[in-house]
Subunit: 223 residues, 2 copies
DNA sequence: GGAAAATCCGACCAAAGGGTCAAATTTTGC
DNA sequence: GCAAAATTTGACCCTTTGGTCGGATTTTCC
């Protein structure tokens, strides 16, 4: 079913035009898929966004499905590569804060990538389940093991380390996926501003560090 | 453009069959829209899920767009009605905990509703922006005012009350919208279990209450 | 019980959708 | 400079899709 174009044989060292066009198409596709999901996106819309005739999309990617997979694979790679390595010797507070900042920068700079991913998850992740149950599961397990080590070393208070990671993701990605909701509620006519992301970042960091006993208990205002 | 069936004139007191069928179709539509978004959903798929011929969908709802709006309006109403009233005289800790529990129960029991809403937001909320900038904005503003009052009354520590609400939503809704991600990572072959939701609920409550200085600072394990 | 209203539903239609093709043009490698 | 390879593109094809229609069946109401 997919043995007709064999992208694997392509020498790839040359093909400057090919590289450029594929990148252009994938970037356009990311936008369209983010907004409409896989089934709701049309190859015509993608071609339009890329400024190319529809036939070119099929020339470079065969089917819509293949293009989608290429886009998703790209995002998965971005996801995994964007995590700085963490070791048990690191300082919990600054490591967690840095991680939250990195995730928020992704939400700010690559919101479409986040939304493509979100779309895929909402649909039950038919195409990326193996990745979720594989690389991603391993990543979470190894990181929560480090958190647990920090706890048992007395470097931070006991927490549910797995849920901690989940909830960091939820709080950071919501600023990309559901941006329109927050910008409406905050009354930002032209979308969220840098300052909104900064404030959100600080709020998340505070929440997480307090939860881990890494910030002093905030004083209540005296009656 | 919509003056041909005039659903408003329908006496509605009779029409038992009508009520039942509309409910059946909307319930099926919620499922299909949740999984495929508006553009990705076909009326045939909805009819199929409802166990009715496609023509009936159009008989009761006119167009796909009208059906979608009916479903979304229903969800918006559910959203707003599910919030217990809060007053400044309430106890912060139990009020926040109750609210988180209520949101988590919605995520557990009406995940499709949450996903339809999420789909709409990811797309930029073309059809519900007025609701976001209206009712929802007001709701958030009135609730964050109460939180602020609690702070100035010394009943809880100073927090960014608006972001607090946003992040409660993010952490609770992620368990509906992205359930597949969490169940893969947790290795649950058959989807999340009740116990998973309980554990998540507790984790969120702890996080939020600690953030508000409503739980004692957790002790670190001594070296 | 019977006529009017409501409901059901298979058959149909025009538009949009994914994908193909072959001829024309451009780029590459020597 | 030129032949082979790569790329471009409009026209085309078949399937899917949202939506309609009209006649059959059921329900309602007196």
């Amino acid at each position: 079913m997919s043995d007709k174009k064999e992208t694997t044989t392509e020498p790839n060292s040359q093909g400057r035009i090919r590289q450029e066009n594929k990148k252009r198409i994938m970037s356009a596709a990311e936008k369209v898929f983010a907004e409409n999901g896989f089934r709701g996106s049309t190859t015509a819309a993608i071609a339009d966004a890329a400024g190319l005739p529809k036939a070119n999309i099929h020339y470079y990617f065969g089917t819509k499905e293949e293009l989608y997979r290429a886009v998703v694979d790209d995002i998965v790679e971005l996801w995994l590569s964007s995590f700085r390595e963490i070791t048990e010797d690191d300082d919990p507070a600054s490591t967690l804060a840095d991680y939250i900042r990195a995730k928020m920068e992704l939400s700010r700079n690559r919101p479409e990538a986040s939304r493509v991913f979100a779309n895929e998850l909402i649909r039950g992740a038919p195409r990326i389940k193996p990745y979720l149950s594989g690389d991603l599961k391993n990543w979470v397990e190894s990181k929560s093991a480090i958190l647990d080590k920090w706890v048992s070393d007395g470097k931070m208070a006991p927490v549910d380390s797995t849920r901690l990671i989940f909830h960091i993701w939820a709080m950071t990605q919501t600023w990309a996926d559901f941006e329109v909701q927050w910008s409406c509620i905050l009354g930002r006519q032209n979308g969220l501003e840098d300052a909104d992301f900064e404030q959100a970042t600080n709020s998340i960091i505070t929440t997480i560090l307090r939860n881990c006993g890494l910030l002093p208990l905030p004083e209540r205002k005296p009656l």
